[in-house]
Symmetry: C3
Subunit: 203 residues, 3 copies
């Protein structure tokens, strides 16, 4: 569990860093930036825990999660302007974060004995809802409702993970396979502009 | 309870169908449409269960709710464009859905021994909050805050239901009376453009 | 506890009154105004209780909170237009409300044995999240993400309160000191336009 914990904290930090870097186009003060940075990192797991009734939510008795988000966000706020990152620098850590959150969320729900449809949904919620709450706070239509294979990659990975667990593959192997598959689907969707059918106003 | 369960599922399906049909004016892909279709159907009961502490929320161990929302949403997404519905085709099922959700929510809260003011509030929340969350996700001011007698019909029906229960009317008779009164108030408000006093910027 | 309870209800009333007075610039009917008036008053404590797992949330079994919000909101809706308040009339009660909610929220979290970082966060959430939910419902970027020392005053007071409790100052003295410090910081920030560093689009 120790490796998972460390990876989870890394994903929180990545979320906080990317959110702070993107915050330039919004008019926020330091406090506002830190709020959305932390929420991006822990919002998904928070919604999952509330829906599943795992209360108090996971970060209440372990302040390390919030602290990591605050430190990563503050450092990026003050240093982020000096360093210019290549445009796609964060796409890979971002995809890894999505994959980690998804697999952790699915795993938590399965342990509580939820049906597979609900367990995969909990994986997706853990993966994407931090970003959804951030976008709602910033008064934007959440990205996952509009754009390419983001939540879908999460859903595919969650489903694969459940399938592998059903087939009694060792837990760690199932986890790593699902994580890798989410990262690959996500990056492939970005690379080749794959997306789902869309409703258009003129049809 | 079996009839209530079936009606509840019908209301979830109606919510998913009307949300998907209305989604044409928003730029969403299939995934986004399904998210808001399912949330419209189960969001109200979810908020009610969280506030009341009935956790995990009701659909966690019964995936039929989510499944019905997904199937109704997907079918409407692919077939909805071919069929042209009369403009007001869904007003009646929509009003029935509001009525069902309201009465079920009020009933759940009363069973937990909440005061009547809170029980009627839980009825209204169950009735309208699915649509509120959907509108927030789509970055719109929730309809219930702006328009005609929608939440008010829900509130009137919840109050009537509590009153009839106090008067020791048989449970099913009280339920049906409340459901019918909500449908009638809602449809009358649409028909004769009845609305509550409104604040205006110039006063 | 009786004084705290009374002050808490006063803060709910102040929130409902100021929200209703400000609602003129939004196009809401009476129902919509009452919804956001009540949510402003009880939203922060509700989110705190959910995150901490204190369910059902505090107003479920004590309808006085909702009733106070409804009465204050209704009275303001009908009388508010006749009376013209001086522009800054509500700044002081508003700051006192923020201070009260913050200290109550921090105190609740400390009693449950949460770490200090989380307890201060719960204080801030109790203080500001009612307004955040109101702004989200009205489709606006929440004020606390954009403007001057509001949440920061709350955070400073919560931290001071925890510090004084650690130093074993009598509970009531610690509470009053924290409340006064929040009010002073908040009013000083308004008076001298103090604010945190801000990200700008051109940097």
């Amino acid at each position: 569990m120790s490796l998972i914990y460390l990876l989870d904290l890394c994903a929180v930090a990545v979320c906080a860093i990317t959110t702070t870097l993107e915050a330039h186009r919004r008019e926020l003060d330091l406090f506002g930036v830190l709020v959305i940075a932390v929420i991006s990192g822990i919002g998904g797991g928070t919604v999952r825990d509330i829906l599943l009734g795992r209360l108090p939510v996971y970060w209440i008795h372990d302040p390390v999660y919030v602290a990591v988000g605050l430190i990563a966000g503050t450092a990026t706020f003050f240093l982020g302007r000096r360093i210019s990152f290549p445009k796609n620098f964060f796409l890979i850590p971002d995809a890894v974060g999505l994959a980690l959150f998804t697999v952790i969320g699915t795993s938590v729900a399965l342990k509580l004995g939820t049906p597979w449809l609900i367990a995969s949904l909990m994986g997706v919620i853990t993966g994407v809802f931090g970003g959804v709450i951030r976008d709602i706070l910033c008064n934007e239509v959440p990205l996952i409702l509009r754009t390419d294979i983001y939540a879908t990659a999460s859903l595919a990975g969650a489903t694969l993970f459940i399938l592998l667990e059903q087939l009694e593959m060792p837990h760690n192997t199932a986890m790593i396979s699902a994580i890798i598959s989410i990262v690959i689907i996500r990056l492939a969707a970005i690379r080749w502009h794959i997306h789902l059918p869309r409703l258009r106003a003129d049809t």
